[in-house]
Symmetry: C2
Subunit: 461 residues, 2 copies
């Protein structure tokens, strides 16, 4: 064996192993939203707050504050490469060219910057705040989440032997493969990687995406990670997030204005984007009230993303609503993105994309074989179903530590808008446990929106 002297010296001397290698290393919906914000809210001031929902894991005890600062500063030192900008301008997204306007791309290259941030430690937890222009603060969300998650993984590496690390990754690969194999050959499956923010690491997400593409072929719908889409010729997927309705709601000047803001944001969005990008996120203030009071043009939208309601219930509710409004649900799309794992994907696919044999339930569908068994299931689409597979795709190392440690278990880190235009921002969601915002504001919002169809579901990841 000949020693690679340069590599060896480099390995012992590098300054920083960056988590974020490119400003494209973010969810694609962030870029769609950024253009939207740049166009409609170029002067709106906002604040975001990042914190750990799973309080049992004291992240500041396993990650040095200094490391977080270095990584955040590194992201601030990045700019979009010319090749990346040209790709954004010239690539086809959702089958359509020119989604990003030349002026926006020009601004990304020369006007874009990231806001200041404030990192504090309280009771062993990091609290990270981003305040400033919405266009400058919004992009922090994914960079910061993936940084803290990857630094958490690196913290868990400490003290492990080279051999232990090898077994860790071997077991994680075997676990990943066992999951993917269960999906291989499911007819008409659509599953996408939504796991950027909570990934174990960038390189692991890249590996996972490669495995998905290899095993699932066209049934792999793409990745939410724009950089991976760019680097590996994949579809970039994702549309929009809660921050849009939250900002509009915060800026509302009356209860009536607040109530209607959830539809106003859709109007603005559909003036900007069309077709497959018109995927609504009706759970911000409760899906049931959203659908009940929605103007009829909302039925024109392509589909909805289900992010906090039991997806079986939410899908059925959407189908019933569409039928009641005289629309054909089989042309519409639901995307389930909340704590998906392989069992959920198989069960939901069975439930929405076909007819389950009498006596069986979605829980009886545990592999592609079950969905290819005519005695169990017949393809018969009720609505188009697609899975956005996140944390449990890109960060499922449970049971993989060779000594049984749980240092690689995912933490439930989230980053939410807390203020827009100087006013508190609130999310209610379809799950009481997932509401964010000041308690008094949550109470006020609940009065306006009600709590129809809202449940209490434990948050796993």
């Amino acid at each position: 064996m000949i020693v690679d002297f340069a590599e060896r010296a480099h390995n012992h001397n590098w300054d920083l192993d960056p988590v974020v290698r490119s400003l494209l290393d973010t969810d694609f919906y962030k870029l769609l939203m950024l253009q939207f914000i740049w166009k409609h809210f170029p002067r709106t001031q906002v604040s975001f707050s990042l914190f750990n929902r799973s309080s049992s894991v004291g992240l500041a005890e396993v990650i040095a504050r200094e490391e977080v600062l270095q990584q955040l500063e590194h992201v601030r030192s990045l700019s979009f490469l010319k090749s990346e900008l040209i790709w954004l301008a010239g690539n086809t997204f959702f089958g359509r060219r020119g989604i990003f306007e030349p002026d926006f791309v020009e601004w990304l290259g020369h006007g874009f910057r990231l806001s200041d941030f404030r990192l504090t430690v309280r009771e062993g937890q990091f609290h990270l705040e981003f305040s400033g222009l919405w266009t400058e603060a919004t992009m922090w969300e994914i960079y910061a989440l993936s940084i803290i998650n990857e630094l958490k993984s690196r913290g868990a590496f400490k003290g492990m032997s080279e051999f232990g690390l090898d077994i860790l990754y071997a077991q994680a690969k075997a676990k990943l493969w066992a999951k993917i194999e269960r999906l291989t050959g499911v007819p008409d499956l659509r599953v996408a990687d939504f796991g950027t923010r909570r990934r174990h690491s960038f390189l692991w997400q890249e590996y996972v995406v490669g495995a998905m593409r290899t095993a699932l072929g066209d049934n792999f719908a793409g990745t939410s990670n724009t950089y991976l889409a760019y680097k590996h010729n994949l579809e970039a997927v994702g549309t929009n997030a809660h921050e849009l309705p939250m900002a509009l709601a915060a800026m509302a000047t009356s209860d009536a204005d607040l109530k209607s803001s959830q539809y106003r944001i859709l109007e603005m969005w559909q003036n900007t984007y069309d077709r497959e990008i018109r995927i609504m996120l009706p759970d911000t203030y409760g899906t049931t009230q959203f659908l009940a009071d929605a103007p009829d043009w909302v039925t024109d939208w392509t589909g909805q993303r289900i992010d906090s309601k039991d997806p079986y219930v939410a899908g059925d509710e959407y189908i019933a609503w569409l039928e009641q409004r005289g629309r054909d649900p089989r042309k519409k799309l639901i995307i389930a993105s909340d704590a998906m794992d392989v069992e959920d994907i198989l069960g939901l696919h069975a439930y929405f994309m076909g007819t389950i044999a009498p006596g069986l339930t979605p829980r009886d569908f545990n592999s592609a074989a079950d969905l290819n068994d005519p005695a169990k299931w017949t393809p018969n689409r009720r609505i188009r179903f697609s899975a956005g597979w996140g944390t449990l795709l890109t960060n499922d190392f449970r049971g993989c530590h060779p000594n049984g440690g749980n240092g690689f278990d995912p933490a439930s880190l989230i980053c939410k808008m807390t203020e827009a235009d100087g006013r508190p921002a609130v999310k209610l969601s379809d799950n009481f446990t997932k509401a964010t915002g000041l308690r008094s504001e949550i109470a006020r919002y609940r009065k306006v929106f009600g709590t129809a169809g809202v449940a209490r579901i434990p948050v796993l990841v």
Copy 2:
């Protein structure tokens, strides 16, 4: 990423990727036997024959004959390095220095050579014969077996993608680790690597041995592979094999001489080696007759290796025999080496090294936890038990192929002595299925030795 130009060019131009990297890359017992043969049978002519017991796998269809020839010629081009010879002379084996005499080590360095060989292909199978001086033919066995087994693995790599190979090894590592974990923490466990001849590859055996040492510490008794012992500071283990009694039996001039040859070889061996190296292999012509007719001095031997009989039965038989001859079995050793896997190791350890709670059987011991549960098991040694873990340690890739192929399943390749001094050699063993030799000779041997205690057990690996 900086390209290592030299490595890249090298990777695309190498001549031969050798399977056997050193003449030490053989079972340690081969070296103990080689010294014995060099001392006592320096002019004896023998033949060995290598063939595939699992006829379903047509090895000549997945391995080019030319490749086998190249690898065999490569071994013939090797000589013992000075550092290897100095280690053989100076190292402690079984706690004793100077096991290898200076004259023998000198001869290894300057007089040793490998005999000619003849490689033919019949019905899709390789048949490999080694004929010549016993000192020149005997060493081929392990080199040739590991060459054909590794070339079989390389054949199965063909057509696999880089990603598929990665998943293959990830799954094999996870499988290996799951096995080893079940042994971690078993009190007084003794388990050794006996997997050189049937290994997936040299590098995989090296990995496996490293995993065993890391996880089992002192409970890992060492490796039969002399080169790995040398390279990684491990105990080299193993004592002797069937070829010794087989040669003596072949050279016997009468039925009485034949019958007593199985003890004569032990006499010669104990004049050469002492203590832990006095491990007999009583199954060559049937263990039951061997023990029944054994002279009393045979009870002085340290223990026996069980290679073809159900080890529960063989261990009990040995214990009863020792007690009947007035010896304390708790001071003796049994080494089970036939098709061991983790379940066998746990069950045999439970059975021989302690007292199993009423209502349980050895099959109920599936992990170290069971052996640390006082409600299930109490340490209480009946005889010292040690496991020689072979094929299913170093070549268990069953179920690891990402596309479900079985190209990595182990083949049952064996190499047996067929002639000594111009006369046919025979092995009967405790399993009718494992007998080797001419049919007429097997019949003659069965008349002399009988068939008491011989069973018909399917051969797995």
